[in-house]
């Protein structure tokens, strides 16, 4: 089990306090809302996609430090990415926080987002970290809303398998 400071790293606390790109986006052409009905977190992700690339991305909403920092850092890392690159990042981020991508062993594009690797030790917080990403993907795919209740069980398949093998 990791130390608390690994989850609440200074960078995460900083993004929580001063979230980047934290405003509505009038010129957005893709918008989606994300809900975590278990804890009441909700956020809205705005995208301006041109020629297949994310030109601008912003968010608004309320949530815990993990969800806010995750959304904030997501907006920074998505700018300029094309659709495929954005979806690859989504996949890598998602697999990292549920413990299915080993950031040391598997080549990836996560860069600064690796700071959320500690979330894997806090299964109850995985949905906090991934809400913004699921919402972004929904916006990219032209869906209007996403709720974490539809994002699978509270523990990952690998955690469930580990438990079943005991």
């Amino acid at each position: 089990m990791s130390e608390l400071s690994e989850l609440y790293q200074q960078v995460i606390l900083d993004h929580n306090k001063k979230p980047r790109n934290f405003h509505e986006l009038e010129e957005a052409n893709r918008v989606a809302e994300g809900f975590n009905p278990l804890c009441g977190d909700q956020l809205k992700v705005y995208l301006r996609v041109e020629d297949g690339s994310v030109r601008e991305v912003t968010f608004v909403g309320s949530g815990c430090a993990i969800s806010k920092a995750s959304a904030s850092m997501m907006t920074q890392s998505l700018k300029g990415k094309n659709r495929e690159e954005a979806l690859v990042l989504f996949d890598e981020f998602h697999r990292m926080v549920i413990g299915e991508l080993d950031i040391e062993a598997e080549p990836n594009h996560l860069g600064r987002l690796k700071i959320f690797n500690g979330v894997r030790d806090y299964p109850a917080r995985v949905k906090c970290a991934s809400l913004a990403w699921h919402t972004m993907r929904a916006a990219l795919e032209g869906e209007q809303s996403v709720t974490t209740e539809n994002l699978g069980p509270a523990i990952s398949a690998s955690q469930a398998a580990e438990m079943a093998d005991q």
Partner: protein, 423 residues
């Protein structure tokens, strides 16, 4: 005894607590002696689910080892033994809540199923278009949504008793809601999100003036208060076993016999029938009418054992101890800069909800967990309460008689640590 006026008297006379030997009581709960994240567990999530004493665990295990069989069916030895234990538990429940008759105590899986049972079996029969159901603003979702579903189905209307900013129901407003279309008043005994103790007797008097039955969600009431359904004069009282030191899957709907008899059945199936033909079935008498299928026998027997356990305690002293803890915790957390208590009713029990400025309750919950402290963070299945206080969520410490002053000190220290991390 009344919960009112106890806090001040205890703070004034700390020696009153000495009569309750909390360290000895803690030994009865095996789960409490473990370490979590390298620190002794501090379990302050009792309002979500209370821990189970050894005699309840052993009673359930003995049933599974030596007595298990289906009930009410076999003529054989084990079936008789299981039936006796199961019906014995029902009689224990009857005495615990002072119902007139054991058949007024229906076994259900918990409060959620219990309220759904009444909403469906009473509501389908007696609620029609244009009728009204009254709930309160501080209800748990399980005492809102079943009624809302009934209202949608019947074209009835859900009306809400408002509360003030301390988290106390406004009874004058309640009076104004009652009329000849009102078919049910459903309120919690103790609010799970605020800790408010509602004056059920007063509510019942006012509702009965209009001939309206009163259902009490006793999920948080039964573990803390002495329950006397005749004295409260409520028509239904619903209990979750796992909130009062019994296994999950146990629970009770108390209902006045004539009401239960007049209601539709709930689930159809075995046990709840008298005769079945393809043309028509007739139903069993209460309580079997509402207990279709094989019930959670081991859990309900465990509920009986939990009642034995509670009866073996001095419950007045246990309540005084809880009141003293709540007062001590309220004082300590209020003194921390940036902490705001949500729910400051004059009559409160067991629950201390709070928010910390600029820190989301989920982060509070995670940091406290690293300190070995279990609390609940979220909306506590009471979103309208969060809306009233304009917070997305709260952190909630909830106490049982096995909690200690030292644990409250650790809670306060951990809250200080949260503030330090986020400063």
């Amino acid at each position: 005894m009344s919960v009112t006026d106890t806090i001040e008297s205890i703070v004034a006379a700390p020696s009153a607590k000495a009569d309750f030997d909390v360290e000895r009581v803690r030994e009865d709960f095996p789960v409490l002696s473990q370490s979590v994240n390298g620190k002794p567990l501090v379990y302050l999530d009792n309002a979500a689910s209370a821990q189970v004493p050894r005699i309840v665990i052993e009673r359930g295990a003995k049933y599974l080892r030596e007595e298990h069989s289906n009930i009410h069916r076999g003529v054989h030895y084990l079936s008789q033994k299981a039936t006796t234990a199961y019906e014995g538990a029902r009689e224990k429940v009857r005495r615990f809540i002072n119902a007139r008759e054991a058949r007024e105590c229906i076994f259900v899986r918990g409060c959620t199923e219990g309220i759904n049972l009444v909403a469906s079996a009473y509501g389908r029969k007696f609620v029609g278009e244009g009728d009204e159901i009254v709930v309160s603003e501080m209800e748990h979702h399980s005492n809102i949504v079943p009624w809302q579903m009934l209202c949608e189905e019947k074209g009835a209307r859900l009306r809400v008793i408002p509360m003030n900013d301390a988290g106390e129901l406004l009874l004058d407003e309640f009076d104004a809601l009652l009329n000849e279309r009102t078919k049910m008043v459903a309120v919690g005994h103790i609010s799970n999100s605020l800790g408010t103790v509602n004056s059920i007797k007063e509510i019942a008097v006012r509702a009965h003036k209009f001939g309206v039955p009163v259902l009490v969600d006793g999920a948080q009431g039964a573990p803390h208060l002495k329950i006397d359904v005749q004295d409260l004069d409520c028509d239904f009282y619903v209990i979750s076993g796992h909130k009062m030191f019994a296994p999950t899957g146990s629970g009770v709907v108390y209902g006045r016999a004539e009401l239960l008899e007049s209601m539709n059945p709930y689930h159809g199936g075995g046990s709840m029938i008298r005769t079945v033909t393809f043309e028509k079935s007739t139903y069993a008498a209460i309580p079997e009418k509402f207990e279709a299928g094989t019930p959670a026998i081991a859990s309900q027997i465990g509920l009986g054992a939990a009642i034995d356990y509670l009866n073996g305690l001095d419950r007045e002293q246990a309540l005084l101890h809880e009141e003293a803890l709540l007062a001590y915790a309220t004082e300590n957390l209020s003194a921390i800069e940036g902490v705001r208590i949500i729910g400051t009713a004059r009559d409160k029990a067991s629950v201390l909800a709070f928010v910390i400025e600029d820190v989301h309750p989920h982060d509070v919950g995670t940091i406290l967990d690293r300190e070995g402290i279990a609390i609940r963070a979220g909306h506590h299945c009471a979103q309208p309460v969060m809306q009233h206080f304009k917070v997305p969520a709260t952190a909630r410490a909830s106490f049982a008689f096995y909690n200690t002053k030292d644990e409250v000190d650790r809670l306060a220290a951990a809250v200080e640590k949260v503030i330090e991390v986020f400063s």
